[in-house]
Symmetry: C2
Subunit: 370 residues, 2 copies
């Protein structure tokens, strides 16, 4: 039943809890397992469905925490057993992506991998596929290729990619070299970037040959590369658990952006294809509100199974997982998230601070609601 | 076990649901049955306790809806059976107070009655008792005497009483005749009244001889007086139910303020004693917040059994009857009321509008949560 691009393998890191979406997201029910947009399926499943035409069902890997193994299998019944990778404990994206790349390269030395977060929302499927196909063509030429998103606001929540000179690569008409890779800017800088159409958002999608990715890692993080290589060598054999137990605790926690992409950009090895699709990382409830309401924040947006929300002279966003009556009276821009054992009330300006609540609850030992 | 002022009988109308305090107040758990202030007892019980030194336990009557009879008995185990009056259905304060007055007058023609709402909060007991004792002395002289409250803000939520000439009555050193009795004013007028120390709030406390009260009612609402007199004549006999069934449905719904107090003021028969105590009608959640926080609204005020409320950069008022974790993030002046089957989110400016929610829910047929 295999189809798609022959040498292409998608990797879905399904790691983060999404603590800014607490109390919807929980340690045992992280963001990627939720149907945040009312689509009927989880974000993880949407990600799988989106990649399927590009890979076929045999060439999508998921790397996730061991405790989420069952949920992943339930969400993705067609995933092959050897394509589910369990992290012993979370080590950020460089380990997750490079470990899968290293294992897949041992299975197929010419593989091109692409990493796609499990918990983002993308619409316009054809444009997405077109961007990935271009990125694969660019990757085959030895670049690490990212897909950049045209900013829709001067966000300080994302990193930016500055598009440089055009690349002349068959089947990749809009590809360019990345001139600069920049971390989340301050607001003034973000406004400057937003006004300059050459800056795109970094959406964390990286497409490259596995060997190219690992060579870049070896150049900039040689110790981490050696450790990952050691685990990968043992992964498909009888020594996996022993090697993982021995090496994993020493793995550096670093994002792939810093371990690979940023230095690759400095060396002219990072390319970009602009994505002509709508993308949202659904980072917090303000972002989710915007997404669910199609940007119509003047109204009251309700994400609930039943129509049991009453608003009087209010606008905002109400998410309910209970059957309680919720009345919102005379409030502007209020966000209410109602679950069986926890309630959040905030507004869009402060939605980012929800992660601090999660930290506080953890410090108070209230992990039962996290 | 009788004590207090020999000829004085207190009447507690325990009628209103307090719909601006939904979802705390419910049809089957009205405001007066709640311990809103965290005192450990219901507002009704606090009212009883406050009156006891003035009357003794044999001379306090409660008039309430038939469905609240059991709850009243549970709250006030010492009340005498014949002092609990059941309304067939609610008919506002003129009927409630005048009916009890008429029945009590038939039991004791010289009785002085005082009416005190079941759901107000009063602090400074000695000052309260001093005011009532003065009012009783004034009432014995044939006046209807109210206790006026010194305004603490230019409220548009209360009626006002304009103090006129001093009365010269033994044991009532601060009594005066009421020059004018005015309904809830607009804000501009309220500000003018607030600046003028002769205006006091009408707190709905009326003290008078039962015969004087009923004579005033007869003068201004003769039909209602005749109907009440007919019911009162049958009340302590075997015909009570038959007469109530026949007459009650035709009783006019009118507040005692309009049926008696306002016309009495016009005729110079209304007196006032200023109350030197703190009084609050706890009309809505803004009022309750103010009361519970002692006016310190800059902070987060929490009325909950357990400490399960987390606030980050917020101020407001959280009332919880559940054991859910509640996080309030980055909000100013927010009011959250969390119960098992209903949640309210509002602010102090709009707290008055909560009654509209109750109306809407009723129209939607959701009386289960009302």
């Amino acid at each position: 039943m295999s189809s798609g691009i022959d040498d292409f393998f998608a990797v879905i890191p399904a790691g983060g809890v999404g603590s800014r979406l607490w109390p919807l997201s929980r340690a045992d029910a992280p963001k990627f397992l939720h149907d945040l947009t009312g689509s009927g399926v989880s974000l993880l499943r949407s990600t799988w469905d989106r990649l399927l035409p590009l890979t076929g069902e045999d060439r999508i890997a998921v790397i996730t925490g061991a405790s989420h193994g069952d949920a992943v299998a339930k969400n993705l019944p067609d995933i092959r057993c050897e394509n589910v990778f369990h992290e012993q404990d979370p080590r950020e994206s460089a380990v997750a992506i490079c470990l899968v790349a290293a294992v897949l390269m041992r299975r197929n030395p010419d593989v091109v991998i692409g990493s796609f977060a499990a918990d983002h929302v993308i619409t316009r499927q054809r444009a997405f596929e077109f961007a990935v196909r271009q990125a694969v063509a660019v990757a085959r030429e030895g670049y690490i290729c990212t897909i950049g998103i045209q900013p829709t606001e001067p966000s300080v929540g994302f990193g930016y990619i500055r598009t440089g000179a055009e690349l002349v690569i068959d089947d990749a008409p809009t590809a360019a070299v990345v001139e600069r890779f920049v971390e989340k800017p301050d607001l003034e800088t973000a406004r400057r970037y937003f006004a300059d159409r050459s800056f795109l958002w970094n959406a964390g999608m990286f497409i490259s040959r596995a060997d190219v990715l690992l060579d870049e890692l070896a150049r900039h993080e040689p110790e981490l590369h050696a450790q990952i290589d050691e685990i990968a060598a043992a992964w498909d054999g009888p020594e996996r658990d022993a090697v993982v137990d021995r090496v994993w605790p020493h793995l550096k926690k670093i994002a792939i952006d810093y371990a690979v992409a940023e230095p690759a950009a400095e060396n002219g090895r990072l390319a970009v294809v602009p994505g002509q699709f709508d993308w949202d990382d659904v980072g917090d409830f303000a972002s989710l509100w915007n997404l669910v309401s199609n940007g119509r924040r003047q109204e009251m947006t309700i994400l609930a199974e039943e129509d049991h929300v009453l608003d009087a002279d209010s606008n905002g966003f109400v998410v309910s997982q209970t059957d309680r009556v919720i009345a919102v009276v005379g409030l502007d821009d209020v966000i209410v998230v109602d679950t069986d054992d926890a309630l959040l009330v905030t507004n869009s300006e402060h939605a980012q601070l929800v992660k601090n609540v999660v930290s506080s609850l953890h410090q108070q030992g209230r992990d039962g609601v996290l």
